[in-house]
């Protein structure tokens, strides 16, 4: 997929948000878009997802199935979570079983009967993620997906993103908090001064590129080991796994 010399402004009298921006993403790419607030990250994401038309330039080779999770899920809708997702599954033409699968993975089974306007911000955000994931997207666009998520879902989301990348999907994520920083193979792009620039992998870690080690450790010793590794300057993310999985 290629964003080719795209320029965009919201109105004829508005300033350009992006000017001659280029971005090429291949199958399986996971791209993180960073940049200061209000520089056009969301605009770039919307152009990638096909929600905005470039004023100049073109977006070529966009995968057919696009999943988009907005930064703020529009919770002001008169549906329960289950009814909303049922409608979205019908729009996406996927079976209703998919809803169960994603609500379980995102830890929102208990929310299914709740009404959308009654949800907390984080819970509503999960509904936004779930609808974007329903249809096995070839392009998944997530605008600040980690904001407001609980720890379990925060840990699960990179795994979900990894799976989409593994089957050849493209994932574009804007992220402030750096939750994907230690994601293997992550490509990072910065939006600044109306242009998109790819950041070198080394820019995030000083001199040397990073390697990800997976270490299984008894739960009782996890905190201590994590502390020791952090003291040595490593980034540590700890995720709970079932015993069987850890033994594999």
């Amino acid at each position: 997929m290629r964003i080719a010399s795209v320029s965009f402004r919201y109105g004829r009298r508005d300033p350009w948000v992006l000017s001659d921006a280029d971005l090429v993403l291949g199958p399986g790419d996971v791209a993180e878009v960073v940049g200061p607030n209000g520089t056009g990250k969301s605009t770039l994401l919307r152009l990638a997802a096909g929600l905005l038309r470039p004023v100049r330039g073109r977006v070529e080779g966009r995968p057919r199935v696009v999943g988009y999770a907005p930064e703020r899920f529009p919770a002001d809708q008169p549906f329960t979570v289950a009814a909303y997702l049922r409608h979205m599954a019908a729009v996406r033409r996927v079976t209703q079983d998919t809803i169960g699968h994603w609500s379980e993975r995102l830890g929102m089974d208990h929310l299914l009967g709740r009404r959308l306007p009654d949800l907390s911000k984080g819970s509503a955000h999960k509904v936004g993620l779930a609808q974007a994931l329903l249809a096995e997207p070839g392009l998944l666009v997530l605008d600040e997906p980690f904001a407001g998520l609980d720890a379990a879902t925060r840990a699960e989301l990179p795994r979900i993103i990894g799976e989409i990348g593994a089957r050849g999907g493209i994932v574009v994520v804007s992220d402030h908090q750096g939750d994907l920083r230690d994601f293997p193979g992550l490509r990072r792009f910065e939006v600044r001064d109306r242009a998109v620039r790819e950041l070198e992998p080394v820019e995030r870690a000083g001199e040397e590129p990073l390697t990800v080690l997976e270490v299984a450790v008894p739960a009782s010793r996890a905190a201590e080991l994590a502390g020791r590794l952090r003291a040595e300057g490593c980034t540590v993310r700890s995720t709970a796994r079932v015993a069987g999985e850890a033994a594999e």
């Binding site: 907005p70 529009p74 002001d76 729009v91």
Partner: protein, 223 residues
Amino acid sequence: MTSVIALARFRVAGYVASHRALQPLLALLALLAVLYATAVPTGQEIAATADSAAMLVPVLAWAARGLLDTEPDEQRSVALSAMGTRELVSGLLAAFASLLVLTAIAEAALLGRLTTAPTTGVLLTGVWLHLLSAAAGLALGALTSRPILRSPAVSTMALIFGYLLMLMLSLTGARWLTVPVMGWMRDAHHGVLLANAPLLTAQSVLWPAIGLAAYTWLRRTRP
């Protein structure tokens, strides 16, 4: 069931569950109460049908706009990401379906107030004129919906003045320059409505078609 129909169902469900569907319904019921305060005398059935169709246009436009505007903007983005530009077709379909319900209520009220039992001709004229009215309402409602006109005040004014313009232009006898709503009433009261039917249909469909084409064009850059 295709995606377009699934999304239309979602939008109609959202519209009905919100309070927005009630506003044009109440306006319609008030209008019908005034129109049919007295029974429609024998021989006046076609004229009463034309009056109903012409006066319903702003109510139907309001309803169509209400349906299209019920959904939050970001939800429309979600729909757009799922379906691309077919999202637009689905919105118009949902709006038209809601207008058919309102016109059916109006038609039922009319039939209920006839002094003599309606002939097939009266029934068919009712269906035909109310479909023309729904087409005009759909186009006017779509063109004043939030993606096109951001400000609710501007949009309401545009809707009202759009209808007034329709009335005034058709009052001057100009039939190709607007939806000839006054033409419907005049022809019906003079008993020449059915003789003019093919031409009148073409004149009445022309501007809604142009309006919907304009809506489609404008939406390309107004997601």
